[in-house]
Amino acid sequence: MLTKITRSIARIIPTETVSAHCDGPCGVYDPASARIAGEAVLSMTKKMLALDPGAHDHATQNTYSRFIAIKEEQAQLAKDELLILWTDYFKPVHLEKYPDLHTTFWNAAKLCSATKVNVSLEDAEALMDAIQKIHTIFWETKGREVDYYTAA
């Protein structure tokens, strides 16, 4: 009898809502942020390698410096984005399904640093591979199929 009463009240008299929400509005997570930064690192690395290291004119030096600055900034951004995903989004329960999760993020963060220290196409491409792997894991945990793509 009480169930019927409460059900009728629930239907008729509106209430305030309480949020049992998942990711909003505290954090909207998406590995795409890291992917875009990683792509910029790869692009800058390629452009630097394409420049003539023997050219010492002002214009080339200026271009080279800008490429370095952007690569440095974007590598740090990629690292920040990855660390946010790692520490804020992923939870202990995800480790059960993805036991190499910590290693994957640790390696990806290390690659961000490596792309700053070096002008290495290999490192930049390895970073993109790591980000793609994280993309796959991330969307699997969400139960969604999201195609990986790159802007370049």
Partner: protein, 124 residues
């Protein structure tokens, strides 16, 4: 953080004593939105909270509470107390660990009350 999913839940349907307390304005009714408290609470379920539950004591680990959102107080959230820090601050966590966002170190003053019962389960 303590794994709250191992804590057995004791959230029962609203009985007559709770119903009378609600009629006397001693309980507040809320509708749950979102699924971070699944399977205990589904979206659309209505719950009662006791706003005076923590006037004389601190929340305990395992209790389900309604709190003001730490980032934006216009929003009220429903979560389980996962940890009580020595300084009284609370870590809140959803039930559905795949669908939840943790709230770390929420001030006790942000807790609006303890969820006491399920007033009405959402009809599918």
């Amino acid at each position: 953080m303590e794994n709250v999913s191992r804590i057995p839940h004791d959230l029962s349907n609203t009985g007559w004593p709770e119903f009378i307390l609600w009629l006397l304005n001693r309980r507040i009714r809320f509708t749950v939105k979102g699924s971070s408290m699944f399977p205990i609470l589904k979206p659309g379920d209505q719950v009662l909270i006791d706003p005076s539950a923590f006037r004389r004591r601190s929340p305990n680990v395992g209790e389900i509470v309604v709190a003001l959102h730490p980032g934006g107080e216009a929003l009220k959230i429903i979560k389980r107390v996962a940890k009580v820090h020595p300084d009284g601050q609370l870590d809140l966590q959803g039930e559905n660990l795949f669908e939840t966002t943790d709230y770390r170190a929420v001030e006790p003053g942000k807790i609006l009350g303890k969820v006491t019962s399920i007033f009405s389960a959402h009809e599918d």
